[in-house]
């Protein structure tokens, strides 16, 4: 509409210009003047031709601009009119996208130990403010047989890695999988004990227990491998898990980037009892063993865990208590050295005293039996404000005593937040 008006206006102006320039000459009779006039008219004609061309060009430009401005409202209308056929024709549809959630851990820390000013007991924590970790999780059914889970973690240095990436199955074609059995393939946290299965944002305290850190290292025991787990036909919940793993763990298998992993085997037996509607008891045993990178000698670890949980169903969002204990014994044989063995435990108590509040305590003991670098004990306490199941603010204080080093005081503050698809909560 506008373009048509402006085009007419321009044409009108051009005509007026021609008329004005011609008009004064009309009264003159002289031949020379007529000649000059003829000349002027040809010039005018050329100018007018140029103007009309310019007008057409402008008109085209305007139309093009107006067209693109109109596009956004027009496109969704087309899309809704033909959603299904359009998307399938392109082979692109959102329906089968995986459920996605993103978790962020942001923290601040302070340590009294001058030697560890760069690093706190949790390796992802440094003195001052830290971006601990961001984790992206993708979950979806692959087909009727497999369910896939990918967890990508980006650490404080911006280094990204596949923390876990695995598929699970409860049923395969031709009944390849026996009943009551599930299969897991990929890279995953090995099923050793309780704490090793947790991602950093699920830790009950901000840092790992000392014994887990000592035996499995700063990253925990996560390995490429495959596993079967079988539900025993007992009246209570009893599950046997066997996993064949690569044996890449730097701490337990002394593996490095140059060394060749020699394989490891893991077994876990989990038993679970309902004491009452509100109280449950879980008892588990774990074992892992495999040849390590130092001359193919043997490394192994044995674990025991006991967890009691209390949560009255009538006040499921307001009251709860978790008492969790784990003991791990390990040995890492080396050439020409006495086998370094050791053991340790932690015992933690988490109490939810109001809808949004938790208060927690943990005792860590390293050195039963004694390790090479002596006995360590640590006392930690934590206060958590949990505004919803998607966010938490936690403040932790811990005091560490060591046989051959100075005692350390540490304070850590952590913000934990999750966005995206609603995650189901492991018990």
């Amino acid at each position: 509409m506008n373009t048509r008006i402006s085009k007419n206006v321009l044409r009108f102006v051009a005509l007026v210009a021609v008329v004005i320039s011609i008009a004064p000459s009309l009264g003159l009779a002289q031949e020379s003047v007529i000649e000059e006039l003829k000349h002027q008219v040809t010039e005018m004609r050329a100018a007018m031709q140029k103007m009309i061309e310019r007008i057409d060009q402008l008109e085209k430009e305007r139309e093009a601009n107006a067209g693109s401005a109109n596009t956004p409202p027009a496109e969704p209308m087309q899309a809704t009119a033909a959603t299904a056929p359009a998307s399938t024709a392109k082979g692109v549809t959102n329906s089968f996208n995986p459920a996605i959630s993103v978790n962020g851990l942001f923290g601040g820390g302070f340590s009294s130990n001058p030697a560890t000013t760069r690093r706190l007991s949790d390796p992802t924590f440094h003195n001052g403010f830290n971006f601990q970790e961001a984790e992206v999780q993708f979950t979806a059914d692959v087909d009727p047989y497999w369910k896939a889970n990918f967890i990508l973690a980006v650490n404080r240095d911006g280094k990204a890695e596949i923390e876990e990436g695995y598929v699970t199955s409860e049923q395969l074609p031709y009944d390849l999988l026996p009943s009551d059995t599930s299969l897991k393939l990929g890279k995953f946290f090995a099923g050793f004990g309780k704490h090793n299965l947790l991602h950093a944002h699920q830790f009950p305290f901000i840092d790992r227990p000392l014994i887990n850190q000592t035996v499995f290292g700063d990253e925990g025991l996560k390995e490429p491998g495959m596993g079967l787990s079988y539900l025993l036909p007992t009246s209570w919940f009893s599950e046997l898990t066997f996993q064949g793993l690569a044996g890449e763990n730097e701490s337990l298998f002394r593996a490095s980037e140059d060394s060749k992993p020699r394989g490891a085997y893991l077994g876990h037996w989990k038993n679970f009892f309902d004491v009452s509607d509100s109280t449950t008891l879980e008892i588990g045993n774990s074992y892992i063993g495999g040849r390590n990178a130092t001359g193919g000698r043997f490394s192994q670890a044995i674990g025991l865990d006991l967890t009691m949980k209390w949560r009255p169903p009538q006040q499921a969002t307001e009251k709860g208590l978790i008492w969790q204990n784990e003991y791990i014994y390990f040995s890492r044989n080396r050439d020409r050295h006495p086998a370094p063995t050791g053991g340790g435990l932690y015992s933690s108590l988490q109490y939810q005293f109001a809808r949004n509040w938790w208060i927690q305590g943990r005792y860590d003991l390293l050195g039963v039996p004694k390790l090479e670098d002596g006995r360590k004990q640590r006392w930690s306490t934590l206060l958590a404000l949990v505004p919803s199941e998607f966010s938490a603010l936690r403040l932790q204080y811990s005091y560490l005593t060591q046989e051959h080093a100075k005692s350390v005081n540490e304070i850590m503050l952590q913000a934990n937040f999750t966005i995206g698809s609603h995650p189901a909560h492991q018990y």
Partner: protein, 297 residues
């Protein structure tokens, strides 16, 4: 094709008659569904509910002992609409029971409060698929029962007549009682009340009551003092007679509101088993209607 289906039916019939003595193990997520399954399946079905009647079904824990129960079941009935999203997926996955039939009972129910615009967690625990508390309208109970009967027939076709007969009895009994409850509540049509959580919408729509506001201004999130102040003012102005909360709600906040206004706090069981005397689906409404009528008088 016909030969195949008839041979399958024949096989199913033989299989079911061979196991006729054994009741079919069925698991449900809530006690209300379990009560209806029991009414339809009678002693031919052994039903167990995961959630307790006095428990908020949003916050059930995925205990491994429930994995054991789901592992042994042949059929699982759930409420759906993401009510059980925080715990049921883990139980089904852990159960290692690929032959389990999972039946979402929200299909066939006309769902209220389906968000039409985009949803965000800033709005609290919104259910993107709509309000899941639909069992709190007895007319939906009949829809659920019909579906349960249909589904039980697929695993026990030999008992079809038995399930049909039980369904007819359930429907006529519930319809008769519903008419009585409606008569009992007729004088209170349009009565204004306030509820704690957004879980009574189906009940309120059925009884033509009028919700003036919620204690939780965002579902699942504790209310702000400012919101409570405004709510108390509104309740005083409109002389609201009843404040409804389910009996697993912490009574402190609703009690303090009731104290400041003329409203009576009515703590209701929202599921079968929520009170000891509520043993079946009809009992649930008997208790709710009794208490509501008492408070609105």
């Amino acid at each position: 094709m016909r030969l195949l289906s008839s041979s399958v039916l024949c096989y199913l019939f033989l299989a079911s008659s061979a196991m006729a003595a054994q009741p079919v193990p069925v698991v449900t997520t809530t006690t209300d569904i379990a009560a209806i399954v029991k009414a339809i399946g009678g002693d031919h079905v052994a039903v167990e509910s995961i959630a307790k009647g006095y428990q908020d079904p949003h916050f059930v824990e995925a205990k491994p002992s429930f994995v054991r129960v789901v592992n042994r079941a042949r059929m699982l009935f759930n409420v759906g609409l993401e009510l059980e999203v925080g715990w049921l997926p883990l139980l089904i996955q852990g159960a290692r029971n690929p032959s389990l039939m999972v039946v979402d009972l929200s299909q066939g129910v006309s769902v209220l409060e389906k968000p039409s615009g985009p949803v965000s967690r800033a709005q609290g625990d919104v259910h993107p698929l709509g309000n899941p508390h639909y069992w709190l309208d007895p007319r939906n109970g009949v829809i659920m029962a019909r579906r349960i009967a249909q589904q039980l027939k697929t695993i026990e076709p030999g008992d079809s007549a038995y399930f049909d007969q039980n369904f007819t009895a359930f429907e006529s009994d519930l319809t008769n009682r519903r008419k009585r409850w409606e008569e009992q509540m007729a004088p209170f049509r349009g009565a204004e009340l306030v509820t704690y959580h957004k879980e009574w919408e189906y009940l309120i729509k059925w009884l033509s009551l009028n919700v003036l506001g919620y204690v939780e201004d965002k579902p699942g999130i504790p209310p702000t003092p400012r919101h409570l102040e405004e709510l108390v003012q509104t309740m005083q102005q409109r002389k609201v007679k009843a404040l409804l909360a389910s009996n697993y709600t912490n009574p402190n906040v609703p009690k303090s509101i009731a104290d400041k206004t003329s409203a009576k706090l009515v703590m209701l069981a929202s599921s079968v088993g929520g009170e000891e005397s509520i043993r079946n689906y009809g009992d649930l409404f008997e208790a709710i209607v009794g208490k509501l009528a008492g408070a609105l008088k």
